[in-house]
Symmetry: C2
Subunit: 189 residues, 2 copies
């Protein structure tokens, strides 16, 4: 019954304001069977007793257990999965390790934009969704995470042709596919 | 580490327009640690290749696998869980059976209102969320499902005092707790 073969999990990461959700929505249109998992939505299912995930390891662990469970189920039913969430390299590796036996490909892309762009995009959100300074703190955290630069993909321009290029890269460029524990602090292949 | 003890899963069911979401939001406020799972939100994570769950057993099965996985995770981390979804008796039993070993209580409530109330509430929704005739078809399906009437709870009045009564009943009235396979076609206890 299992129908995982040849399926792909796309993790679209990066700091707030970088275009994760917009890019995810464009990406799913190119796939024939697909689930879209918003890490923020998963996180907010914990309505009472929730802590800020960036301040609580337990909360973060709960969110990732939920993302993993959903991902496994959607794969089992023959779908690709797009995960839209601030995902650090060790979290992408954790997901990859937990899916390793199911013969699926894991694509990890850290979308990136310059600081001015991040701040400008943040200011255009609804007030309750604005991240403020955390935008830049998050960008710093990625820089310090030892992330291999090959996983970065720029969204600074925000033009239509750039968007098309981004989707093509995510789907086709093999450098974004996690192959093992080579994600952190290695040179480019 | 497991922290399931004494936890409760509340399944708030009933046809569209009966007040599942409103009641869920009131219920979670009374709980100290709690997740809210909207079956509709889970269903719509399947963005490409999704079938209407009422026309596809596979789609329904995927949705329930996802609800079960999330429920188990939230329980594991010490939360009660409120499931807001059109849930027929056999689905409530399935969830109960799959949680039986984890020593949690499963409360099953089928909210109910008369036909005029259902149609009126449906007409007040945003156009894209209106169910139209399916409201009444759903109400019929519940009637035909062999549901024990003790699981019904009326929301017809929609008054504040009725709302408070409903929440009290859901939390305190033992008749809503599933005890085994006595859910369908049995006399009242």
């Amino acid at each position: 019954m299992e129908n995982n073969q040849g399926r792909t999990v796309y993790i679209l990461s990066g700091p707030a304001g970088v275009g994760k959700t917009t890019t995810s929505k464009e990406l799913v249109k190119k796939l024939s069977a697909c689930a879209y998992i918003s890490g923020d939505d998963i996180s907010h299912m914990h309505v009472i007793g929730r802590k800020n995930p960036w301040e609580s390891e337990e909360e973060t662990s709960l969110i990732w257990d939920n993302i993993l469970s959903l991902t496994k189920n959607f794969l089992w039913y023959g779908n690709d999965v797009v995960v839209d969430y601030v995902t650090f390299p060790h979290q992408a590796i954790w997901l990859y390790d937990n899916l390793r036996n199911s013969n699926v490909r894991v694509v990890y892309v850290v979308l990136w934009a310059d600081q001015d762009t991040l701040i400008e995009r943040d200011s255009k959100r609804l007030r309750e969704h604005r991240m403020g300074e955390r935008c830049l703190l998050l960008a710093d955290e990625f820089k310090k995470s030892g992330l291999d630069e090959k996983y970065l993909l720029s969204t600074t321009e925000g033009t239509k042709s750039e968007n098309e290029y981004i989707i093509d890269e995510i789907i086709s460029n093999a450098k974004f596919r996690i192959k093992g524990c080579e994600l952190v602090e290695t040179s480019n292949i």
